[in-house]
């Protein structure tokens, strides 16, 4: 199977503990400011705005005062079987066999949005407009991430530039292997309750490899076979059940 493709290299993955996530939105802000994400005048238009990391809310559906709210931060799932890659006509998006990260090459993208249709997680955003930054705000743009142009699709890259940065540093020091905490995406670094863990799923020493063995670990829409590398943890049964679609009466 395809997912065995990079069993030798790194397979970067993320584990998000939903019981620890407080829904503060810091991951979204950290992501946006790290990755030069543009802001629309009307950010409430969720079909037009750019969100690499979107937070969703679910509730247990019980009446007051037994209601519980759980937040689900959703970056790109960086699937091992990425449905977006196979549909891309100009190969603007592909899976890196050495890291498992799904890349997005903006200058190759023709804006057909097949990938957006294929992605079951809505993890991709299309630039309907020229990138807009409120007047003066282009001054905080980071040179590590290229701003996107109108007409291309963009998505979470697991902060790939941070991997490059960490690699350059390691290579300069004569190392080929990165340490666990050397490469962390901005969201995981920012998470104030440390609900987001990040590491190499191929490395049994890394915390993520241990966390995904938990009986509370699950992935979104697991039965589609996309094999996401973003895992979630929740001790709550109803949360785990809500992560996939089930027929009435069907037992999971």
């Amino acid at each position: 199977m395809k997912k065995e493709e990079n069993s030798k290299g790194n397979r970067y993955g993320m584990v998000i503990d939903l019981d620890k996530c407080t829904g503060c939105g810091l991951c979204t802000v950290a992501c946006a400011s790290e990755n030069n994400i543009s802001v629309l005048y009307d950010e409430s238009d969720k079909t037009r705005n750019i969100a690499w990391l979107q937070i969703y809310t679910i509730t247990n559906g019980k009446d007051f005062p037994d209601t519980e709210v759980v937040y689900i931060p959703r970056p790109c799932m960086q699937c091992d079987n990425p449905p977006c890659v196979s549909v891309c006509p100009p190969t603007a998006t592909r899976k890196d066999p050495n890291t498992g990260i799904i890349s997005q090459i903006y200058s190759r993208c023709v804006g057909c949005r097949y990938c957006m249709a294929a992605c079951p997680y809505h993890a991709r955003s299309f630039n309907w407009f020229d990138p807009s930054f409120p007047e003066g705000m282009d001054r905080y743009l980071s040179p590590e991430v290229s701003p996107r142009m109108r007409g291309v699709v963009e998505k979470c890259t697991f902060c790939h530039h941070r991997l490059m940065r960490a690699r350059s540093k390691a290579y300069a020091e004569g190392r080929r292997e990165l340490k666990e905490d050397e490469y962390i995406p901005a969201c995981a670094e920012a998470c104030p309750t440390q609900a987001i863990s990040f590491g190499d799923l191929n490395n049994p020493e890394h915390q993520v490899s241990q966390l995904i063995k938990s009986p509370h670990a699950f992935r979104l829409l697991e039965r589609l076979g996309t094999e996401p590398k973003v895992y979630y943890l929740s001790a709550k049964n109803w949360v785990r059940r809500m992560a996939d679609n089930y027929l009435a009466g069907e037992l999971s």
Binding site: T22, V29, T59, P65, T67, M137, A190, Q194
Partner: protein
């Protein structure tokens, strides 16, 4: 060649084939692809050397340590500082979006401005700093020379202990005006509780890091309460402790807020009955003798019945609580099952390090005094004062005092006049500042008693509950000077703008960030050079004082603000365990002594009884003094009558000794229950800025489309309540209170208490740029505040409203 159809087709087919053989079309397509992606308005970030600057975020008094990544001279990213003792790496979304506050050209004042057209016309003229300061100095001198220095007033939003606040207060003092007003905060109520029950004039602080049971009466621990970076970090510690030491969190909240959803137990009493709930738990603890006998017997006053010097018997706290607040009674008041009250009280009492916290939302607004006292009584019952994981009484930050203010005769005379807001008078004995009263007095007088108003780090025209009254007052004030760096609602009404730097362009300090239990001094430093022709308000005030001259100039001897800070900081050099220098404090961004002598309880309380006072002798004295003042010189036979009048005036409905003790006061509200059957409860989100800083665009990204859609704000309503009004999800409705009406949309939320409308603070700006202006509505416009008993602070969470379907 003959021009025929055949030849025509041949010519074009050949031409097409030939062109396709050349690289031209492919090259053109490629060029078009590149060209369409290379618009000149796609920004190209400038390159430069990477560097990191450590500083402190001063967007709120939470003072989180931040690290700013710079590329060349530009700041490109803000991250939390993991070596900072307040937040240990965690920051809030607003702090992380701080660069949008710094660099957003659309919201910043770029130079001193003078109003040209009529007020509100937004016609401004750029002026020089010299002219700006001269204008203000001449204005102040004008009324001061006539012997009316009290015509100057200031509204200050800087943290009360910070050097900026001290400097502004010093300016008013030296000029001779008592009218220094502050934006009210929850800390004010915590300070009052500390003053009345423990004798200290500083906010209560809680050793949350070491607590193992948190009973929060409404504090949005995860919704931005206190120093939010610290709270998120503490939450992480609580959650990652192993199972045996896991901190148990009970959240009292009328809505499934982030905190309530994440807590181990969520209790939802009727809003405003939190005091009764706390006392119901006190009842269980007293009745089952679960309290700390050692603390109650040795260090508390007024727990049991007692006799005063005149031999009169007084009821003790225990007697009143046992008599009035049985779990069954409290169930009737709060709606919380008596079984649950007993269970939680027992759990609280059996925990090793429990803390009861009073508060609401982010703590942006003051709370109810008796309620906060009732909650703190739980801490006292368990002897949590000065215990590890309890409420700590610690030393102040040992900053060096400045030289005394020099007063001339005008100043001395001016300072004897009564404050316009009447705070600190016999009627409001424990309240320092009452900004709503200030507006009320101005609105009620023929011509404004204030000639010149200074607005510093505050946007009361937007943030104040019932802001419309304040706007009305602003319109009456002849001359308004705004020091705001931002084009906010209040500065739009000003006559003179003296713009401050943004937080990342200046050095300011925060003394003991909100809720931090140890003496900690936070000092920020400039990260980037000022972008515009702005000037540090501290420097402006020093130049202004010098320009006014005389005794005022003598009170401001420093060359600039940094010197004024430096002089205070000099007190820290030898105060800690290790000697530090100015450079050390500047480099670290903090000074801190994390040591504390736990367990010390004797001789620490500064009350009249030298003990923790369940029966507050200060309240007793204040009310008795006030009641005498009501009937000066009347025969003693009327004393009883005047005393009842006093209570009535103070808004207290309790009688007898209960008045001096923590008790439950039913908060009345203005609206008629039949006409306005619903309750309006403003709520705060951690990802929506609610204070004087406008919400940056990145935070708009984090709002859900059921919170804001286009320009429509959603209110959260229980589906049952909404369906009673025939309001479906997303339906438009009018929200009407006695003060006014707002147009909103409905979001059905199971986690909302029935018959309560939850409306977020933070949107509905009428100023700032198009990313913020006109989005949503501002609940402050329809809040109908009444005064909290005794403290007189505005009660902002008890407005009656009705929903009208449209």
């Amino acid at each position: 060649m003959e021009f025929s159809r055949r030849n025509f087709i041949k010519f074009f087919a050949g031409g097409l084939g030939g062109t396709l053989l050349t690289p031209l079309p492919w090259k053109l397509i490629d060029d078009i692809a590149i060209w369409t992606q290379n618009w000149s308005w796609v920004p190209v970030p400038g390159k430069g050397k990477f560097s990191h600057v450590n500083t402190v975020c001063t967007l709120c008094p939470g003072a989180c340590g931040i690290q700013v990544r710079k590329v060349g001279s530009r700041a490109v990213k803000i991250e939390g500082r993991s070596d900072y003792p307040v937040n240990h790496g965690a920051v809030c979304p607003l702090g992380m979006a701080g660069l949008q506050v710094l660099y957003n050209e659309g919201i910043r004042w770029k130079a001193p401005m003078k109003r040209m057209g009529p007020r509100g016309s937004q016609e401004w003229k750029e002026i020089s700093w010299d002219e700006a300061i001269d204008t203000l100095a001449a204005r102040i001198k004008g009324f001061r020379d006539k012997g009316n220095p009290e015509k100057l007033a200031a509204v200050d939003g800087n943290q009360s202990r910070s050097t900026m606040a001290l400097l502004i207060k010093r300016l008013l003092n030296s000029i001779g005006s008592p009218n220094y007003l502050r934006m009210p905060r929850e800390e004010d109520t915590h300070s009052m509780v500390n003053f009345l029950m423990q004798g200290f004039d500083s906010p209560l602080t809680f050793d949350l890091e070491n607590a193992d049971f948190i009973l929060s009466f409404g504090c949005g621990l995860l919704d931005g309460w206190g120093s939010s970076g610290r709270m998120l970090n503490v939450w992480r510690r609580w959650a990652t402790n192993d199972r045996q030491h896991k901190t148990h969190i009970v959240q009292v909240d009328p809505r499934a807020s982030n905190t309530a959803s994440k807590a181990d137990l969520w209790l939802a009493p009727s809003p405003g009955t939190e005091a009764a709930l706390a006392l119901g738990m006190a009842h269980v603890i007293i009745k089952e003798k679960l309290y700390s006998k050692e603390f109650i017997d040795n260090h508390s006053f007024g727990f049991s019945d007692w006799f005063d010097e005149k031999g009169l018997e007084h009821k003790g706290f225990s007697g009143i609580v046992l008599g009035k607040y049985s779990p069954e009674n409290v169930e009737n008041i709060t709606g919380i099952k008596s079984r649950v009250i007993i269970e939680v009280a027992r759990k609280f009492a059996s925990a090793n390090a429990p803390i009861a916290l009073a508060g609401r939302g982010k703590g942006t607004f003051p709370g109810s005094l008796y309620e906060f006292m009732s909650v703190h009584a739980l801490n006292a019952l368990k002897g949590r004062v000065n215990n590890k994981g309890g409420t700590l009484i610690t030393d102040d930050v040992p900053l060096a005092p400045w030289a005394d203010v020099v007063y001339d005769s005008v100043a001395n005379n001016g300072l004897t006049k009564e404050r316009i807001d009447r705070a600190g008078t016999l009627r409001y004995p424990f309240t320092r500042t009452l900004i709503h009263k200030f507006a009320e007095v101005i609105n009620g007088s023929h011509s404004s008693p204030v000639d010149t108003l200074l607005l510093c780090s505050a946007n009361p025209a937007y943030t104040m509950p019932d802001n419309q009254s304040f706007i009305k007052a602003l319109k009456k004030i002849p001359f308004i000077v705004s020091f705001s760096p931002f084009m906010d609602e209040s500065s739009m009404m000003a006559d003179l703008i003296l713009p401050d730097h943004s937080h990342l362009e200046k050095m300011v300090d925060i003394v003991r960030p909100t809720g931090i239990q140890y003496p900690l001094y936070a000092l920020s430093r400039p990260v980037v050079k000022p972008l515009y022709r702005t000037r540090h308000t501290g420097d402006v005030i020093i130049s202004l004082a010098k320009r006014i001259g005389g005794s005022i100039a003598s009170s401001f001897q420093w060359a600039n603000f940094e010197e004024a800070i430096k002089e205070r900081v000099s007190g820290l050099y030898d105060a800690g365990e290790n000697k530090v220098s100015w450079e050390d404090v500047k480099k670290n961004g903090y000074w801190y002594t994390p040591r504390h002598f736990f367990g010390k309880r004797s001789d620490i309380f500064k009350t009249a009884s030298k003990k923790f006072e369940f029966f507050s002798t200060k309240i007793e004295l204040a009310i008795k003094t006030y009641s005498k003042g009501l009937r000066p010189g009347k025969p003693s036979g009327l004393e009883g009558k005047s005393f009842d009048d006093a209570l009535l005036n103070l808004g207290i409905s309790a009688k007898g000794d209960e008045v001096y003790m923590p008790h439950y006061e039913e908060i009345k509200s203005g609206g008629d229950k039949n006409e306005y059957p619903l309750l309006l409860l403003p709520i705060e989100f951690i990802n929506l800025a609610t204070g004087w800083i406008g919400n940056p665009p990145f935070l708009n990204k984090t709002l859900f489309d059921y919170q804001l859609t286009k320009d429509d704000l959603f209110v959260e309503v229980n589906p049952k309540t909404a369906s009673r009004y025939g309001l479906t999800e997303g339906a438009k409705a009018i929200l009407k209170s006695p003060k006014g009406e707002l147009s909103v949309r409905i979001h059905h939320f199971d986690g909302a208490m029935p018959d309560v409308i939850f409306i977020p603070f933070g949107l509905g700006h009428t100023a700032y740029d198009r990313y913020l202006k006109g989005k949503g509505v501002n609940p402050n416009e329809i809040i109908d505040p009444i005064e909290d008993p005794l403290s007189g602070q505005p009660v902002w969470w008890n407005t009656r409203v009705k929903l009208i379907k449209i």
